[in-house]
């Protein structure tokens, strides 16, 4: 059993060596390191975290990385309480949170928050005023905004969502959200809700969108990686990974890969914009 484990390790190392030479740098920081990195928080971050963790763990089997969701609030709270090593948030932690938990904030990407509808919905373009009126509950039928005679089903996010906070601040301009709107607890749940309901409207991370939902053009600007990058699409936010004080060597190595060329490639492949 033991020899077999050894053989397996040697085989892994042998397999990884050529790859390590090609992509010199980024993942070498984990050389000789062992241990576990626990990550939780923002649901928008998860695809990037998973892709990166997969790259690291296949190259360095001594490193274990666990990834949980929960939302931005959970991420900040859990890292502050020392339950996880990295707490992700789709909003910058408040000054009180930074002070109370002695947080160190690492921003590594920009993300847009797009208004999404069912792909079969003919309404593909809305003004900011129309979006505000729909979410406030004053416009309740798609025909009022140029669509079919069908009731609008408004979906919003839970109280602790970073996505909700950004959308509320930058798209709704802190305007009201109808109390009768349905509430879903994650970006993934939002996608399911909108993809299965022809009358739905919701909002979600641009990186999380796929063909099962359709993004709406806001005031003539289509939410995409380009428009978020050049600033024409204004409903955007940073993606943050927070640590309690200075990160340990292992956690620092993980955070550093987010800023490396390999990490930036992963971030871009998931539909986000690497920063800086």
């Amino acid at each position: 059993m033991k020899t077999r484990t050894w053989l397996f390790t040697i085989l892994c190392v042998a397999l990884c060596l050529p790859a390590g030479e090609v992509f010199a740098g980024a993942y070498d920081a984990f050389q000789g390191k062992e241990g576990t990195i626990k990550i939780s928080g923002g649901t928008a971050h998860i695809p990037v975290m998973q892709a990166l963790a997969k790259e690291i763990m296949t190259r360095h089997p001594g490193v274990r990385i666990t990834i949980a969701g929960g939302g931005s609030g959970v991420g900040i709270k859990q890292v502050g309480e020392g339950l996880v090593d990295i707490g992700n948030s789709g909003r910058k932690p408040t000054d009180e949170e930074i002070a109370a938990y002695n947080l160190k904030v690492h921003q590594w990407a920009l993300d847009g928050v797009a208004v999404v509808v069912h792909p079969q919905n003919p309404v593909k373009s809305l003004s900011l005023q129309q979006v505000q009126a729909i979410f406030a509950g004053t416009v309740t039928n798609w025909k009022e905004v140029g669509g079919p005679d069908k009731a609008i089903h408004v979906f919003t996010r839970d109280e602790a969502s970073g996505t909700r906070e950004v959308f509320w601040e930058k798209a709704l301009k802190k305007g009201p959200v109808a109390a009768t709107a349905d509430v879903v607890p994650s970006n993934g749940a939002m996608k399911t809700a909108v993809a299965t309901d022809p009358g739905a409207i919701g909002y979600m991370s641009v990186g999380h969108m796929d063909a099962s939902v359709a993004a709406v053009t806001l005031d003539g600007v289509t939410p995409s990686v380009e428009t978020v990058r050049n600033g024409t699409y204004a409903v955007s936010r940073g993606l943050y990974s927070n640590t309690k004080g200075e990160p340990s060597a292992l956690v620092k190595a993980f955070l550093d890969t987010l800023y490396s060329p390999e990490g930036r490639a992963i971030i871009e492949a998931q539909g986000f914009i690497p920063v800086p």
Binding site: S72, G73, F155, E159, A160, P176, A179, T180, D182, D197
Partner: protein, 292 residues
């Protein structure tokens, strides 16, 4: 003589260990209650003592009332019971009295299997099957409403209730049923006038336990009821239960009053479930005393 001493000593030890376990369990349960009261204290000191229970939920306007959630929880669990009780009674009666042996055996096994299906599976089926169906049939809202959650919740609590009912009905002494047969009673009469009255203690326990399960369920209401924090005025409206409220707000800022509100929800859940358990206990003991 010596053996008897040993016996009493080991008996005393067993009694002490069991007693300690009971006290620990009771203290822990009490401690949880006190803990929730302490953590919901910020809301109470905010001058909102009873307003919390009767106000609506509008955090931006500084109102942290949980009345809509209490209403939704009660409506959902009692609605699910109203659907599940007749179904369970029928099912249990089929298995114990009316059914032929083979189908009865099949139904019993089937119900037993159903109890082991995880809640999330019911929720999942609900999202992709029940919600679109309700949306298309009712044409009011997104289909995520009390009715959708109620249907799935009823389906979820039925198997447990059926098993309780079967147990209760099978514990009715055979002599009673035979005596009724001898007097010329048919199956329906035996069921109505002999089995049901004799089994009522077990039946009530089953119902109250199922109520506790429905009232405390989180996942189904979170996935299917829509979660709008508005007092439910119709079966077709989106509603948020106490448990779903806790799940949605638990990630909020620790210092906020939103966060404190989930402990009030906890206190209410705790109080209602404790009241139900106590009611079950006292009803049961009263019925068992009166037993012929």
């Amino acid at each position: 003589m010596k053996r008897q001493d040993d016996g009493s000593r080991s008996e005393r030890a067993a009694r002490m260990i069991l007693g300690a376990a009971v006290i620990t369990a009771a203290v822990l349960t009490g401690a949880i209650f006190v803990y929730m009261l302490v953590l919901s204290f910020p809301l109470f000191t905010h001058g909102q003592v009873f307003r919390v229970l009767i106000q609506d939920w509008a955090p931006l306007q500084g109102r942290y009332g949980i009345r809509p959630m209490i209403g939704a929880s009660l409506a959902l669990s009692s609605g699910a019971l109203a659907l599940a009780i007749p179904a369970s009674l029928g099912c249990a009666a089929f298995v114990t009295i009316f059914g032929r042996p083979k189908p009865a055996f099949f139904v019993r096994r089937f119900v037993q299997t159903m109890t082991s299906i995880p809640t999330v599976v019911y929720g999942f089926v609900g999202v992709f099957l029940v919600v679109p169906t309700v949306r298309d049939l009712v044409q009011a809202g997104s289909g995520r409403c009390l009715l959708s959650a109620l249907l799935v919740l009823a389906l979820m609590i039925t198997p447990t209730m059926v098993l309780f009912f079967i147990d209760a009905m099978e514990s009715v002494p055979k002599e009673y049923v035979l005596a009724a047969s001898a007097l010329g009673a048919g199956p329906a009469e035996k069921f109505l006038w002999v089995v049901l009255p004799c089994a009522r203690a077990g039946l009530i326990t089953g119902v109250l336990l199922a109520f506790g399960r429905a009232f405390g369920d989180t996942l189904i209401s979170l996935m299917l009821a829509g979660n709008a924090a508005v007092f439910p005025s119709s079966l077709f409206h989106s509603a948020r239960t106490l448990t779903a409220h806790i799940a949605l707000v638990i990630a909020a800022d620790f210092q906020s009053l939103e966060f404190a509100s989930i402990f009030v929800c906890g206190v209410v859940l705790y109080a209602v479930n404790a009241a139900v358990a106590l009611a079950a206990w006292s009803l049961r003991s009263r019925l068992l005393e009166n037993r012929p």
